[in-house]
């Protein structure tokens, strides 16, 4: 089955792109903004700035007091937050229909008029909060830094994706008010932003409301260069990082360079990860978890990125007493086998059925639907992606997947991060 969500698009004179997808089934509107700035835009010595900046967007703007953005929307029954990733920062809330205008007014104030409210005190406080976020999510949990270590192997030093979004403690400490102001002026611009409304609003009304609050926002004269990198070839001498640590079991991460997002090639490589490790019937799960029981858990992670090259990872937790090399060999066998033995009809059917179900289930949430629309519009100029993605998936053949595995999932091109359990 295919979704047919209505999509209406509009562009303000200042370049802001607006998408409205009407759905009157619930008396709410999801308001979702994607700004084309993420950790890939950070300069050396200032990693973590995009994310720290996202926190500052909740600390008040010219007409909104500190803490008021959250307070005013929560009191109207909004669910809201923001996140930062390598390519973008998103800001979002689902509000009762009557609070749509308030949400747009609050968003426009911080998207266009943040700097008058920015203070050293706010910066210092949110820097502390972000450092605790880093400790809580990365430094104080087992394997917490493994993904950053893997990323640094997959993307060479100097590449925009070499460092992670949370940044380093030293760089967070070094961020100054001037850095923050410059960052805002460079990236927070209407012509670098998409606003999506999903829910209880008609397109023309939605466009008019967005125009009322965002029309006056202007673009700073100088737009920063954003020349995208060329694709990186598969690694010929992939890096390896090993450590012994206080972790509950040995764990192996394998990292791969994948095709840039927004392409058929990326979809094929994404599905090849599913055939390997996305399901209980996937090849690695069947062999390593069910049959040989060398590992207790296997998972996959492939995410589209815009700057030339995406990244995929396989993650396995080893059964106690099993050697890392034995598991690496077995995974390697399966990667090579996928290149030479395309998925069977039922393997492919299971993967396609799974994608169909989770895609429809996530789109059922208006907030998620709005996020998908903003993302595909900002990064790939494709607001209809939510309606067409399943067609694209259905076109992928078994041979496509084998070919993709042969190109991108050669075990000789896999970066590895190994965590060994400390002897006690």
């Amino acid at each position: 089955m295919r979704p047919h969500y209505p999509i209406a698009t509009h562009r303000l004179d200042n370049g802001l792109r607006v998408v409205v997808s009407t759905d009157h089934s619930v008396p709410t509107v999801a308001v979702n903004l994607w700004v084309g700035v993420g950790s890939r835009h950070e300069r050396p010595g200032r990693t973590g700035l995009a994310h720290l900046f996202e926190h500052l967007m909740f600390q008040g703007s010219e007409h909104v007091a500190e803490g008021e953005h959250f307070a005013a929307l929560l009191a109207q029954g909004a669910q809201l937050n923001a996140t930062t990733w390598v390519d973008r920062t998103n800001y979002f809330e689902v509000v009762p229909t009557g609070a749509l205008e308030l949400a747009l007014w609050l968003e426009a104030d911080r998207q266009g008029r943040l700097l008058p409210a920015l203070t050293q005190e706010n910066l210092d406080n949110q820097r502390d909060v972000v450092k605790e976020e880093k400790r809580q999510r990365y430094d104080n949990v087992p394997y917490g830094t493994a993904y950053a270590e893997l990323t640094a192997l997959v993307f060479p030093d100097g590449h925009p994706y070499h460092h992670t979004t949370i940044g380093s403690m030293d760089d967070l400490d070094a961020a100054s008010l001037t850095d923050v102001r410059d960052f805002y002026s460079a990236h927070y611009r209407p012509d670098n932003t998409v606003v999506t409304l999903v829910g209880d609003v008609e397109p023309d009304d939605g466009f008019a409301l967005v125009a009322r609050y965002f029309d006056e926002l202007t673009n700073p004269a100088v737009r920063p260069d954003d020349v995208l990198a060329d694709p990186l070839p598969p690694m010929t001498d992939p890096g390896r990082f090993e450590r012994t640590a206080d972790v509950p079991s040995d764990r192996l991460y394998l990292g791969f360079r994948l095709p840039v997002g927004g392409t058929h090639d990326f979809v094929r490589s994404d599905l090849s990860f599913d055939v390997l490790a996305g399901l209980a019937t996937s090849r690695l799960y069947r062999r390593l978890v069910r049959r040989d029981q060398l590992v207790t858990h296997v998972s996959r992670n492939a995410g589209a990125r815009v700057d030339g090259t995406s990244m995929g990872a396989l993650i396995v937790d080893l059964t106690d007493g099993v050697q890392i090399s034995q598991v690496e060999d077995a995974v390697g066998d399966e990667l090579l086998r996928l290149a030479s033995e395309p998925p069977t009809d039922s393997e492919l059917a299971a993967v396609v059925a799974d994608v169909e179900r989770w895609w429809l289930q996530s789109l059922a949430q208006p907030g998620e639907r709005a996020d998908v629309i903003s993302g595909s519009t900002l990064l790939y100029d494709d607001p209809e992606h939510l309606n067409t993605y399943l067609d694209e998936v259905a076109k992928v053949t078994a041979e496509d997947i084998a070919k993709s595995a042969a190109t991108h999932l050669d075990p000789a091109s896999a970066a590895a991060v190994v965590y060994r359990k400390e002897a006690k």
Partner: protein
């Protein structure tokens, strides 16, 4: 020019979607929530046998039954079952909570009936092959190690072991410990299943875009055919008795930890509490539900000690808890603990009209968005069913919100504020145990 700040009109009243209620031929109760426009149909089934019936030495067997019912049946091998689910894109899950066994499927509408046939097979003819049970036992043993390594899960486990009387099931992990799980065999799973997993008392909730007649016909042909001879034994093992005595503090030592996890809990109300349930989600929000709530206003936004603290009343079927949790930078462990207790103490002085209005508005006005999808409706319905309530409970407490005054919040808070807390810290005890002990906040012990 900058537009003036818009005003917000009152939101329209909202009620939880209404169910139609039916019975299958084997007695299973059916609740159908028709949700037009939903592409996915969500099914939740509850077999209400409390976790507390597990044999003490085999705790975790109920979870193991839930995890292996689909790993081979009389008709299909484990691999075949996985294929049958996945070829139809049916997401299947099963678990065992305090109130019983739950099975769930999410599938496109046209494939739901296939999912019901498959869960009927799991329920009625599981084989519990030794190879599969053995694998799941080893996976659970690895999972226990992972849980112990997570500061938050470690704190939760220590808290339950301290807060609940040792006689009660809630004092120990629902999915069992290393000792008990190591003993579980395929025969144990088969025995538990035969004794306790039966259609009597079971409820199935289906939410999605439904044709009622067809749905009932399909359910009756599948789940309605599940029959078990004989009756389940009687069992009244204690589920959740709170340990007597004073406030207790347990410091779980993590040498060199860069943060300390703080987990504090007291006895609290269930949904049938005198005075109504409505004040409690409101208090949860005002104390620990947002960056502006009392805890984060100080610990996060003023002091920068934490990424965020949460607090909330968590009802069980009888009685409940009030839990506060969060993690702080290691060097402020003592000060953050003191401040947390101070903030809770200060709540006795009363909640303001502004706090009351903001929190009641939040709880009331978020409801339409919280229950916008079929899976959210089905989850809520099954959870309430497990404690003997229907979803009219949601509409009823939401309608009580509008009338709540600061005095109502104060009275609800006061009812539980004298309950002695159990406090667990997971962090560097060498550095901070003395400081915590010196706060004099309860009987103190460092644990490994």
């Amino acid at each position: 020019m900058v537009q003036p700040r818009p005003t917000v009109p009152p939101a329209s009243p909202w009620g939880f979607p209404l169910a139609t209620e039916h019975r299958l031929s084997n007695g299973i109760r059916v609740l159908l929530y028709n949700r037009p426009g939903q592409h996915i149909t969500s099914t939740r089934l509850l077999v209400p046998t409390p976790l507390a019936v597990e044999p003490r030495e085999l705790e975790g067997v109920a979870t193991m039954v839930a995890r292996t019912m689909d790993e081979g049946t009389r008709s299909h091998s484990a691999d075949e079952m996985a294929e049958l689910f996945e070829l139809s894109g049916i997401a299947y899950g099963a678990g065992y909570g305090a109130r019983g066994l739950t099975l769930e499927t999410d599938a496109t509408a046209s494939r739901s009936a296939q999912g019901w046939a498959l869960i009927t097979e799991c329920l009625s003819e599981p084989e519990f092959p030794e190879q599969e049970v053995g694998r799941h036992v080893r996976q659970r043993l690895a999972e226990i190690e992972h849980e112990a390594a997570s500061p938050e899960t470690r704190a939760t486990k220590e808290w339950a072991a301290t807060f609940y009387d040792q006689r009660s099931r809630a004092a120990r992990p629902a999915a069992g410990t290393t000792d008990t799980v190591s003993r579980i065999s395929s025969q144990d799973c088969a025995r538990f299943h035969a004794q306790w997993v039966r259609p009597e008392g079971a409820t199935v909730v289906v939410a999605g875009e439904l044709d009622q007649t067809q749905t009932l016909r399909d359910l009756d042909a599948t789940l309605g055919s599940w029959k078990v001879d004989g009756r389940a034994p009687q069992d009244d093992s204690p589920a959740a008795i709170v340990a007597d005595g004073p406030a207790r503090v347990r410091f779980v030592h993590r040498p060199g930890a860069v943060q300390t996890e703080l987990y504090l809990g007291t006895f609290g109300p269930d949904r049938t509490v005198e005075g109504g349930w409505a004040p409690y989600p409101v208090l949860s929000f005002a104390v620990g539900g947002s960056p502006n709530a009392r805890l984060d206003a100080v610990l996060r936004e003023e002091k920068g000690y934490t990424y965020g603290f949460r607090a909330g009343f968590r009802p069980r079927d009888v009685g409940g808890t009030f839990i506060v949790s969060g993690s702080v930078r290691s060097d402020v462990t003592v000060e953050a603990t003191r401040l947390t207790l101070q903030i809770l103490q200060d709540a006795r002085k009363g909640f303001t009209a502004e706090e009351t209005r903001a929190a009641t508005d939040y709880i009331g006005k978020t409801a339409p968005a919280r229950y916008a999808t079929a899976d959210a409706v089905a989850d809520e319905a099954l959870m309430l069913e497990s404690v003997g309530l229907g979803t009219e409970f949601v509409s009823s407490y939401l309608s009580q919100l509008a009338g709540l005054t600061p005095g109502d919040l104060d009275a609800a808070w006061a009812r539980w504020a004298d309950e002695p807390p159990t406090i667990v810290l997971v962090g560097d005890a060498d550095a901070h145990a003395d400081g915590i002990r010196a706060l004099g906040i309860g009987e103190f012990e460092v644990v490994g």
